[in-house]
Amino acid sequence: MKNTGLNHSVLLLLLLFGLGSCGVSNVVIDGSFPTPNINKMPIAIAVYYDDALKDFAYLEYSETGKEEYNIESGKSHVQLFNVVLPAMFDRVVFVNSMEEVPTLGVDAVFAPAIEEFQLALPAKTKLDVFEVWIKYNMRLLTPDGDYIADWVLTSYGKTPTETFRSIEAAINDAAVVALRDLASSLALSFNQVPEVRDWLNSR
């Protein structure tokens, strides 16, 4: 009787192990982002993150079409923007809806969006690096919601393969490099976007 119970437990464990190895692996991007050393622009900005950005996740499929990695990067994007934007502008107000903006007395609203996320794994590319590529749509609006500028920004991050590092950790490291790349591009190229430059000059 005892043996049968034991056999059932072993069988159940094996079944769970089998199911576990078939499931999708969840990667929540986690990193720390330094404050940029740049001169602040003398403008007041409201920042709006929509739910698509806050909850952004990317699903990577295996070559056979199975769900392989679910990469959640929404929170880390918000964390990054929260560090970078106050270093770029004199005054930054984070808002939960666009309706709040007209009463705040800001010059513009910044609303970033993720358009595309790509992951390249060494098993597929045959290179010794993990790569992450992200495409953004950056929008700068007037407090009334009209467009000032709308531009595309891309970021790229890679990390080499290492013997004692998991695939999940390597994906995280490559994504953190890509996020830092986004921060540096945004911080250094914001006032070089033609529409933004024209708007800044006209003020």
Binding site: P34, T35, P36, N37, I38, N39, L127, D128, V129, Y156, K158, T159, P160, E162, V177, R180, D181, A183, S184, S185, A187, L188
Partner: protein
């Protein structure tokens, strides 16, 4: 199998292992130095060792960069080294893969930014050492097969491979904003993995050797000796 055969097998195994251990220690390292200017460093001045991360198919490993930095900061004529991550974070976003200066002319432009110049002064950086390279594994041969059964488990076979580490170190003098020299290192070594019941890895420490030789050469280069 009788006791005599067992001890004979054990003897052969020991002999084989000793031979392989001797072979494994054979790592050859070549250092090439090209000096373009005078060097020397004050007691309050520091050196920062950074990895180049612009190549598309490889990346200079942060572990190698920190190994070279740590070794330059130890022993006789030790230098004050600023850790790579601390420097890159403090300088953010000016030393990221996309924004880092590729030539000394770019460094000159970068130093025109007050915030960058101030941070550089805070760290007391006199020299920036740019490391670029990677270790490639080639000539893999042999095979090992492992089996597991009710009576136990074991592996049998032999594998070997060659590691080739190629790294360049470019030294920039922040005071004169010029490149003062380049040191190249090329280390190769053969690793073996014999398996007689259990696999015994005999790894050639190619990257570790490249790190120590390059760091020693950099130390004497910066000190001007």
């Amino acid at each position: 199998m009788n006791l005599y055969s067992l001890s004979k097998l054990s003897g052969i195994r020991r002999l084989l292992l000793a031979m392989l251990a001797l072979l494994a220690s054979c790592t050859s390292t070549t250092i090439d130095e090209f000096r373009q200017g005078e060097t020397g460093i004050g007691s309050a001045e520091t050196v920062v060792v950074l990895g180049r991360r612009q190549a598309s198919d490889y990346e200079t490993r942060a572990e190698f960069v920190s190994c070279v930095g740590e070794r330059m900061g130890r022993g006789e004529n030790a230098l004050q080294i600023v850790p790579e991550q601390e420097f890159v974070d403090a300088m953010f976003p000016w030393f990221e893969p996309r924004t880092a200066p590729l030539r000394t002319r770019d460094l000159e432009r970068l130093m025109a930014e007050n915030m960058v110049a101030e941070k550089m002064l805070d760290f007391g950086v006199r020299y920036i050492v740019w490391l670029d390279g990677h270790t490639e594994t080639t000539d893999r041969s042999g095979s090992i097969s492992c089996t597991i059964g009710p009576g136990g488990a074991g592996c049998f076979g032999f594998g070997s491979w060659e590691d080739d580490a190629n790294f360049d170190a470019r030294i920039w003098d922040v005071a004169s904003m010029t490149s003062v020299g380049t040191i190249s290192t090329d280390a190769t070594g053969q690793s073996y993995l014999p398996a007689l019941i259990i696999p015994i890895p005999l790894i050639a420490r190619v990257e570790a050797n490249a790190c120590s030789r390059l760091a020693d050469q950099l130390k004497s280069f910066v000190n001007g000796s």
